[in-house]
């Protein structure tokens, strides 16, 4: 048996007793904190800590020409930087597949839930619309970056206000009181699987030996707006159902902290 299998088995043995490497239960998150407006340079920003994992997100706004097929809609872009500052695993350079996945999963949750009313981002039809860009930067990776990133992104959107826009120019130094046109508060929660054990909010060591994971983005009205399965082990429909129930529960729990 390979070392990785042995390590997996060891984690699993503890999970069977409903005990995690740090003493938590399988369905227990580490302490979650949200701090708003941590960057005065951004239109909106937030820092999220889940245990020792720390992520910050910042929102920047710009005015551009809309896409031809949606002339009266603004748009959203999500980018994630897995900074080499946050883990010896990450290297400087263009985003890795892992980083791109974080960005895209967070993006899909927000986009598909219709979290932002993009029609209200239109300034002049077919000419000018607001573009909202969310950048997620990791500060310390101790596992569960996707959930932390999703929460940070939504928190930053919640705090963001439009900069002053006059005579076709943005004055980034002057912020209005106008908040973004938010309609929904989607959050991604990832449920992990090792053997027949399901658990949330993994430590780095647990995440390293996981067999499969399912990220479920849910909204406050109980809808699922995005899914992403990861890992190379298949999931049964029954497991998927259990995972969705867990994700919905923790989605609601984190949302109440916003």
């Amino acid at each position: 048996m390979s070392m990785k299998d042995e390590q997996k088995q060891h984690v699993q043995k503890a999970l069977q007793e409903n005990l995690r490497y740090d003493g938590r239960k399988k369905d227990q998150f580490r302490a979650v904190t949200i701090e708003y407006n941590i960057s005065k340079s951004a239109e909106g920003s937030a820092r999220v800590k889940i245990g020792d994992t720390e992520v910050i997100a910042g929102v920047k706004m710009s005015v551009e020409t809309p896409y031809p097929d949606t002339p009266d809609e603004g748009s959203l872009m999500v980018n994630a930087e897995l900074l080499p500052l946050s883990s010896p695993r990450f290297e400087p350079g263009p985003p890795s597949a892992e980083g791109i996945e974080v960005a895209r999963v967070v993006d899909r949750g927000i986009r598909e839930a219709g979290a932002i009313d993009v029609k209200k981002l239109c300034i002049a039809r077919a000419e000018k619309v607001w573009i909202v860009t969310i950048d997620i930067c990791t500060i310390n990776d101790a596992g569960n970056l996707i959930d932390a990133s999703s929460l940070a992104a939504i928190a930053a959107l919640k705090q963001a206000t439009f900069p002053k826009y006059e005579n076709n120019e943005i004055d980034y130094q002057t912020r209005t009181d106008t908040k973004l046109p938010m309609r929904k508060w989607p959050l991604a929660i990832t449920v992990f699987k090792i053997g027949n054990q399901l658990f949330v909010d993994p430590l780095r060591e647990e995440e390293d030996v996981m067999e499969a994971r399912l990220t479920v983005s849910t909204t406050e009205d109980g809808k699922i707006c995005a899914l992403q399965k990861g890992g190379s082990t298949p999931l049964t429909p029954d497991e998927i159902d259990q995972m969705i129930v867990l994700a919905q529960k923790f989605g609601d729990e984190q949302r109440s902290k916003l």
Partner: protein, 237 residues
Amino acid sequence: MTYKTRVDGRAFDETRPITAKVGVIKNAEGSAMFKIGQTTAYAAVYGPRELHPKFLQNPNTGLLRCNYNMMPFSGHGERVRPGQNRRAKEISMVTENALAPALDLKDYPNTVVDVFIELPQTDAGTRCAGICAASLALADAGFEMKDLVSSVAVGRVDERILADLNYDEEAYQCEKGVADIPVAMFPNTGEITLLQMDGDLSRQELQEALKLAKKVCQKIYEVQKQALKEKFLGESE
């Protein structure tokens, strides 16, 4: 019209409020946060670790490698595209040169010590804040160092020599113009390891500015020292 009072009401030799904290990133060997006004820098040290490509290895000593980066939302105006631009490359290099003279890596031949500097918010003086944070992170990581490195931008706005310019002062419109001088030094000896300037300046003005830089670096040093000691406070008996 001369520059009589500063845009934010500070005294001419006064810095913006400074806070520093050591050990803010658990994964790193050493780390620190240094905040001056609305410029915040994080620094994390990883290594010594194996240096690739191999031909860069030095059999006599370890190598210091710095990487300065502004987060995409940290700029004064529009979003900054992620990835290293020319400015970030240059600042990374001068940061390396500002810190390397303090550091003794002879015990770690063929290796590299990586320092990553990240800025979540900026209001001028970013390279200086980055150097202050990085110097703390290196000390926290337990490397042999001759001294800490303290850094501040001094300059001249119109006819006044002043410390720690913010963005509004860097961009101040006045007859004589603005000179901006980022300086880093060993606070215990006053030896200078970073010196850049843009604007125009007389020899006398530079002398005066450097004198001010030394005075201000002493104050920054006290904050740095305090931050390091705070992390290890529990260790003394």
